[in-house]
C-alpha cells in the first residue's frame, strides 16, 4: 500500500462522510414537513384544517350527542379579552353550529392577531370541519375595539364512537410585529425590483 493511495482513500472516505453529515443536517429540516404530514394523518398535535371545508355534512346523526367544549387562551403580548360566547355546546354529528368568539384590544394602537386552534383528543381533529373561522385569517383589532368573531363548524358523521367529548382550544397571538416585518420585507423587495 503506497502512501499516496492511502491518502487518496482517506480523502474519499472523508468526502463520503461529509456528504452524509450534510444530508443529516438537511434531514433535520425535512422533519418539519414530515411532521406536518404525520400530524395531518394522526392528529398528533390536534391541529384542525386551516381552510374552510367546502362541502357540508352528508347527513345528521340524530341519535348521537357529542359535547364540544371551548377554551380560549391569550398568548404572549395579548392583554385584551378573548372568550367564546358559550363554554360548551351539545351537538349531533353533522349538525351545523355557530359559536361566537369575542376579542378586544384595550391598546391605543391597532393590533393584528392570529388565533391557533387545537383539539383534544388529537384524533378528533380531522373530524371537526369548519366552514367559517376567524382563525383562517389574521384579524385586525382597532384601538379599543371589541370584535365579534364567528366560527361555524360541524362534526363529521363518521366521528369514532368512543369520542363523546372534544375540546377545541384557541390561543390568540399578537402578530403585529411579525406582520410589520413581513410588510417591510415586501416593500424593500419591491423597491429593489423597481
Amino acid at each position: 500500500m503506497s502512501d499516496d493511495s492511502l491518502e487518496h482513500r482517506n480523502k474519499r472516505t472523508l468526502r463520503k462522510l461529509l456528504i452524509w453529515a450534510l444530508a443529516m443536517f438537511g434531514f433535520a429540516f425535512a422533519m418539519v414537513p414530515f411532521y406536518d404530514v404525520i400530524c395531518d394523518i394522526t392528529g398528533l398535535n390536534g391541529k384542525t384544517s386551516s381552510t374552510a371545508s367546502s362541502e357540508g355534512p352528508s347527513r345528521t346523526v340524530e341519535d348521537r350527542t357529542v359535547t364540544v367544549e371551548f377554551i380560549t387562551q391569550r398568548g404572549q403580548g395579548v392583554n385584551g379579552d378573548f372568550m367564546s360566547a358559550t363554554r360548551r355546546v351539545k351537538v349531533h354529528p353533522g349538525e351545523i353550529t355557530l359559536v361566537n368568539f369575542y376579542a378586544s384590544n384595550p391598546k391605543t394602537s391597532d393590533i393584528v392577531t392570529q388565533s391557533i386552534p387545537s383539539v383534544t383528543p388529537g384524533e378528533a381533529a380531522r373530524y371537526l370541519h369548519k366552514t367559517q373561522c376567524f382563525c383562517f385569517d389574521q384579524q385586525t383589532l382597532g384601538a379599543g375595539e371589541r370584535k365579534e368573531m364567528p366560527m361555524i363548524f360541524y362534526l363529521d358523521p363518521e366521528l369514532p364512537r368512543h369520542i363523546n367529548t372534544l375540546t377545541l382550544s384557541y390561543t390568540i397571538f399578537d402578530v403585529t410585529d411579525r406582520v410589520a416585518a413581513a410588510n417591510d420585507a415586501v416593500i424593500n423587495n419591491n423597491a429593489v425590483a423597481q
Binding site: 462522510l17 452524509w20 443536517f25 392528529g43 404572549q76 392570529q114 390561543t171 399578537d174
Partner: protein, 533 residues
C-alpha cells in the same frame, strides 16, 4: 503528559516544544492528552455548578441562590457534563488508543484532528462566559436557563439574550464532534494493520466505530435544531412558534431524534472500555465477542426509533406510545446480552481486583441499576408518574456518572501506565475508588425515593417532606465532588512521572497491540505496521 518522545524521536527533529507543541500538534497522543485534560477540566467545572445546585437544595426554602440563577446552574451543568466532559473524554480515549489498538501510526486526518480539539475550548469559553456574566457582570444578564434540553418556547420566545451565545457554542461543539467522528471512521476503515480484520478489532474500537456513525447521523440534526431556533429568534421563521403556524412540540421531536442516539454516544464507548478491562483481570477471553459486536450495532440502530419515550406526556396516539414503549423495552435485550457476557467472562476466571477492574465491576453493577430504572421509565403509564421527577434524575445519573464516568476512570487507571510510563498511585487510587463508590450511591440512590414520592426536577425548592433525603443527597454530592480531587492528584503525579515505573505490559492478563509498544508509548508508534495473525 508524554514528554518521553525524545529517546524515540531520532529522525523527527521537527517536533516543536512548549506551547507550540500543543497548539499545533497533529500527533494523536498529544491531541488525546489534550482532550482528556479538557474533559477533566469540564468535569470539574460542571461539578462545581452541581455543587451550587446541591448547596441550594441542602435545606428546603431559598437561601443561597435565587431560582433564576438555579435554573442557569442546572442548564449549564448538564451542557458542560454532556458536551464538555463525557463526549470529549471518550474522544480523548479514542485518539490515544484507537491507532495503538489497530496498529496505525496516527489518526487518518491529523490536521482535522487538531482543529476538532481546538475549537472546543472556544466553544466552552463562549458558553461559560455567559455564566460568568450572570454571576459577576453588571446587571447579571441571565445565562441559558432552559435546561440542557432547551425546549422551545423556553429557548426561543422566552430565551435570554445569552441563548445566542449558547447556539453558537453548540454549533461549534457539533462541528468538533462530527470531525472527531469522521476521523475515527476513516482511521478504522483505512489504517488497520495488515491482518487486523474488522472482527479481530478490540471491542473498544468497534464500539467507537459505531459511536462515530451515530455522531455523524445525529450531531447535524442537533445543528439543524439550533439553527431553527436561531432563525425563529431573529429571522422571523416559525418552526416552533405556534403564533406563526409552527409547533413547539416539533422541537421536542427534532431534539430527541438527536437526543436519544446521543445517550448511546455517551455509553457505547464505555461498553468497549469495560469489554477490554474485564477479560484482562479475569484472565479469560471475552465471552461472546461476536455477540458483543452485534449487540452494540443493534443498540445503535434501535436508538433511532425510541426518541418519543422522552415525551410520552406531550400526548400521542395510543399506537405511537405503544410503538415507542415496545421499541424501548427491546433495547434491554442487546444490553442484557452485554451484561451477561461481562458476567460470563468473569465466571470462573482467575480474577484479581486491581483499580481498573474495581471500576469496571462497579460500572457493570451500577450501570445495570440505571438500566433497570430506565426500563421502568419506558413503561408509558408509569412514566406519566415519573416524568420530570427526581426518579428520572436518578436514572440518568446512574447511567452517566456511575456508568459513563466510572468507565472513563476505569480506562484512565488501565491506560495511564501506557500514557505516562508510571503506575497510578495505588493509595490515592483506592481512596478515589471507595470514596466515589460510596458517595455516588449516597448521592443518587435516594433520588429514586424522592422522585417516586413526587419531587419534581429543576426546582430550586421542595416540599418539606423531602428535606431529610435532600440533606443526605447533598452530603453525598459534596463528598463525591471532593473525592475527585484524589483523581486529580493521581493524574498530576502520573503527568510528573512520579511513581513506580510501568512495564510495557503492566497488567499480566492484558492482550492487544497497545501493550506491545513500550511504556510510556513513544511519540511515534507503528510506523511500520505490525502484522496481526
Amino acid at each position: 503528559m508524554s514528554t518521553a518522545a525524545t529517546a524515540h524521536d531520532d529522525h523527527h527533529h521537527h517536533a516543536p516544544t512548549g506551547l507550540k507543541r500543543w497548539l499545533f500538534s497533529t500527533n494523536h497522543k498529544d491531541i488525546g492528552t489534550l482532550y482528556l485534560w479538557f474533559s477533566f477540566a469540564m468535569f470539574l467545572v460542571g461539578g462545581l455548578l452541581a455543587m451550587v445546585i446541591r448547596t441550594e437544595l441542602l435545606e428546603p426554602g431559598m437561601q443561597f441562590v435565587d431560582p433564576e440563577f438555579f435554573n442557569q446552574m442546572t442548564t449549564v451543568h448538564g451542557l458542560a457534563m454532556v458536551f464538555g466532559a463525557v463526549m470529549p473524554g471518550f474522544v480523548g480515549f479514542a485518539n490515544w488508543m484507537i491507532p495503538l489498538m489497530i496498529g496505525a501510526p496516527d489518526m487518518a486526518l491529523p490536521r482535522m484532528n487538531n482543529w476538532s480539539f481546538w475549537i472546543l475550548p472556544f466553544a466552552f469559553a463562549i458558553l461559560i462566559s455567559s455564566v460568568l456574566m450572570s454571576a459577576f457582570g453588571a446587571g447579571h444578564p441571565s445565562a441559558p436557563n432552559f435546561g440542557w434540553t432547551f425546549y422551545a418556547p423556553l429557548s426561543t420566545e422566552y430565551g435570554p439574550a445569552s441563548t445566542d451565545l449558547f447556539i453558537l457554542s453548540v454549533h461549534m461543539m457539533g462541528i468538533s464532534s462530527i470531525m472527531g467522528a469522521i476521523n475515527v471512521i476513516v482511521t478504522v476503515f483505512n489504517m488497520r494493520a495488515p491482518g487486523m480484520t474488522l472482527m479481530k478489532m478490540p471491542l473498544f474500537v468497534w464500539t467507537w466505530l459505531i459511536t462515530a456513525f451515530l455522531l455523524i447521523a445525529v450531531m447535524p440534526v442537533l445543528a439543524g435544531a439550533v439553527t431553527m431556533m436561531l432563525t425563529d429568534r431573529h429571522f422571523g421563521t416559525s418552526f416552533f412558534n405556534a403564533a406563526g403556524g409552527g409547533d413547539p412540540v416539533l422541537f421536542q421531536h427534532v431534539f430527541w431524534f438527536f437526543g436519544h442516539p446521543e445517550v448511546y454516544i455517551m455509553i457505547l464507548p464505555a461498553f468497549g472500555i469495560v469489554s477490554s478491562i474485564i477479560p484482562t483481570f479475569a484472565r479469560k477471553r471475552l465471552f461472546g465477542y461476536a455477540s458483543m459486536v452485534y449487540a452494540t450495532a443493534s443498540i445503535a440502530l434501535l436508538s433511532f426509533v425510541v426518541w418519543a419515550h422522552h415525551m410520552f406526556t406531550v400526548g400521542m396516539p395510543l399506537a405511537g406510545t405503544l410503538f415507542f414503549m415496545y421499541m424501548t423495552m427491546l433495547i434491554s435485550v442487546p444490553t442484557g446480552v452485554k451484561v451477561f457476557n461481562w458476567v460470563a467472562t468473569m465466571w470462573r476466571g482467575s480474577m484479581t481486583f486491581e483499580l481498573p477492574m474495581k471500576w469496571a465491576i462497579a460500572f457493570v453493577i451500577l450501570f445495570t441499576c440505571g438500566g433497570l430504572s430506565g426500563l421502568m421509565l419506558a413503561i408509558t403509564p408509569v412514566d406519566f408518574q415519573y416524568h420530570d421527577t427526581y426518579f428520572v434524575v436518578a436514572h440518568f445519573h446512574y447511567v452517566l456518572v456511575s456508568g459513563a464516568v466510572f468507565s472513563m476512570f476505569a480506562a484512565a487507571y488501565y491506560w495511564l501506565p501506557k500514557w505516562s510510563g508510571v503506575m497510578p498511585n495505588k493509595l490515592l487510587g483506592e481512596l478515589h475508588f471507595w470514596s466515589s463508590l460510596i458517595s455516588v450511591n449516597l448521592l443518587f440512590f435516594p433520588m429514586h425515593f424522592v422522585g417516586l414520592a413526587g419531587m419534581p426536577r429543576r426546582y430550586a425548592d421542595y416540599a418539606l417532606q423531602f428535606a431529610d433525603y435532600n440533606f443526605w443527597i447533598s452530603i453525598g454530592g459534596f463528598w463525591f465532588g471532593l473525592s475527585q480531587l484524589f483523581f486529580l492528584a493521581v493524574c498530576v503525579l502520573c503527568a510528573l512521572k512520579k511513581g513506580e515505573k510501568a512495564a510495557a505490559k503492566p497488567w499480566d492478563g492484558a492482550e492487544g497491540l497497545e501493550w506491545e509498544v513500550p511504556s510510556p508509548a513513544p511519540f511515534h508508534t507503528f510506523e511500520t505496521p505490525p502484522v496481526v495473525k
